[in-house]
């Protein structure tokens, strides 16, 4: 860049945003090159939360690895759990019984709502609307209570086991979920009252961090970030897993691919999730919770890739088995990791305040990026 283009000072200002910064959502560090307030370049430094999950997968048995995975994307622990359990089930050639499948689906969708609520809250806080955050947490709390009642933990749930789920539904589960699901769309309307039409929100999110559909695919963006760019692709529809094919729901897509579109997509996804849950809650079949399988999990030699639509995007597991009780290689395809790569492209030429908005809109979880 020619020096004459800089406005006040010929030298660029390098600001290290993070790893301790209010809105980097964890321990992300972004090295920003600034010209005044304008971002010339952004480089992400990650790995502060690296715990070697993939290595752990090689030294723990298949069953033991599940709770470790909950710590990856700790906002959407149920999704992690579901993806992994399904992968191993596929490798073993077993299917979870329908009752377990339904419970899995309900829990995963509720978890998607919690994940999106947390995203909305933090995203709003990044843009200065602090109150939305608390409202989101209020609703999130209700879901976490359901989780707690069901499996005994709120965040890192370890809800499912390979072959089904461990826990029977508790008494009053359906009522609790139903009450929540009935109220929830109204609550989403409230968030929308605060944000969707607010002029400040519009100014802050429209035309910020635009990414075209072609670029999005090239960058491997998945999940709401991809759909915000107008690509109608959701693994729940494209490659239905669990029992998603039995339910009726829409996939919201955006037009422009800016922060506002991604925001709208996620808001609509919350409604759709509630819709799926309300369909599923009345149809939970009776039956066993665990598939018939041996206690010791020894999959055949081979490899498998299975991916699900986590709230953040495509969460894939690539497992190589050598026939023992532990995976030979347990690879996780983390959606946040791949999505974060697009930050550089999205923020170039924007202001410092937009960097925060874009980080928020990507909905990253550092536990998953660094694993």
């Amino acid at each position: 860049m020619a020096q004459a283009e800089t406005l006040f000072d010929a030298s660029e200002l390098t600001v290290s945003m993070g790893p301790q910064h209010p809105s980097t959502h964890g321990v992300l560090q972004v090295k920003l090159k600034l010209d005044g307030e304008r971002v010339l370049d952004a480089e992400c430094v990650i790995g502060y939360l690296h715990r070697g999950v993939e290595k752990l997968g090689e030294v723990q048995t298949y069953g033991q690895f599940v709770p470790t995975l909950d710590r990856m994307d700790y906002i959407a622990a149920v999704s992690n759990c579901l993806g992994y359990c399904e992968t191993i089930e596929k490798l073993l050639g077993v299917t979870a019984p329908p009752r377990a499948q339904y419970i899995r689906l309900i829990m995963t969708e509720l978890n998607r709502i919690t994940s999106h609520l947390l995203w909305l809250g933090t995203h709003a806080i990044d843009l200065g609307a602090i109150t939305t955050f608390l409202y989101c947490f209020r609703e999130r709390e209700e879901i976490l209570k359901i989780f707690e009642n069901y499996c005994g933990a709120r965040l890192t749930t370890h809800m499912f086991r390979i072959g089904g789920t461990q826990y029977e539904l508790y008494e009053g589960f359906q009522d609790q979920v139903r009450t929540f699901i009935q109220d929830f769309p109204k609550k989403v309307d409230e968030y929308e009252t605060l944000l969707t039409e607010n002029r400040i929100w519009l100014d802050r999110t429209k035309n910020v961090g635009i990414i075209s559909a072609k670029d999005a695919i090239d960058l491997g963006l998945t999940g709401p970030s991809l759909r915000g760019s107008g690509v109608q692709w959701d693994l729940r529809k494209a490659k239905p897993y669990c029992v998603y094919s039995e339910f009726d729901f829409d996939i919201p897509v955006g037009e422009v691919g800016d922060t506002y579109d991604r925001y709208l997509v996620r808001m609509e996804e919350m409604r759709q999730s509630a819709r799926i849950v309300s369909q599923a809650i009345d149809k939970i079949p009776d039956g066993p919770l665990m598939a018939k399988m041996s206690k010791i999990i020894k999959p055949p030699v081979g490899d498998i890739y299975h991916s699900i639509e986590s709230p953040k995007g495509e969460l894939g597991y690539y497992i190589v088995s050598d026939g023992s009780t532990m995976a030979y290689r347990a690879r996780v395809r983390p959606p946040s990791f791949v999505n974060l790569q697009s930050l550089k492209k999205m923020v170039a030429g924007h202001m410092v305040a937009d960097v925060v908005a874009v980080i928020g809109t990507l909905d990253i979880v550092l536990g998953e990026i660094d694993r």
Partner: protein, 175 residues
């Protein structure tokens, strides 16, 4: 479909309903470009790129998991390289591969040729060794790194086996 690269082609098979294609590594970038741009199964999206270490053969298996939006189909491309060999980077084909390859380099030490920015991504720059190799000693490295950078003895030091609680030297590093 793969006639064009018949010399490079090893085998194609299906395992548990998932398609695998094994190819040789020499022309990998051209093959990947072809896979991306062909009309039969245009895999325009690289879902994942990773590696598996096979120390017996001193080999890495590089795995590309590809997806075709138009055909709704996953394909796995695999290629094998010797531990000391380099492989052509896919970052020119899909931008996604940039970080994914950096991670593979970080974890396995696979050297990519023509990669825009091949350096460690998750681990610190001065980390020794590549953790996801099967012959890597996690604890030794960790203890050394912690001692060097934090100036304390790592709590992992005595975490060597089943009997660690009985080990008279087992000290938790607080207090």
């Amino acid at each position: 479909m793969k006639e064009k690269f018949s010399t490079q082609f090893v085998k194609a098979y299906s395992f548990l309903g998932q398609n695998n294609i094994e190819v040789k590594k020499a022309l990998i970038a051209e093959i990947l470009t072809f896979v991306r741009d062909n009309t039969i199964l245009p895999c325009n999206y690289l879902a994942d790129e990773t590696a598996v270490h096979w120390p017996k053969d001193e080999e890495f298996e590089i795995v590309y998991i590809l997806y075709s939006f138009s055909k709704n189909e996953y394909v796995r491309m695999k290629t094998r390289i010797k531990e000391w060999e380099t492989i052509e980077s896919a970052a020119g084909v899909w931008t996604t591969a940039d970080w994914l390859e950096r991670e593979v380099y970080d974890m396995f030490g696979v050297r990519y040729a023509n990669h825009p920015n091949l350096k460690r991504i998750l681990l610190p720059e001065d980390w020794v060794g590549f953790p996801l190799r099967k012959d890597y000693n996690v604890r030794l490295q960790d203890v050394e790194w912690v001692r060097k950078h934090l100036g304390i003895d790592s709590g992992q030091k005595y975490y060597v086996g089943e009997a660690r609680h009985e080990d008279p030297n087992y000290i938790t590093p607080t207090d």
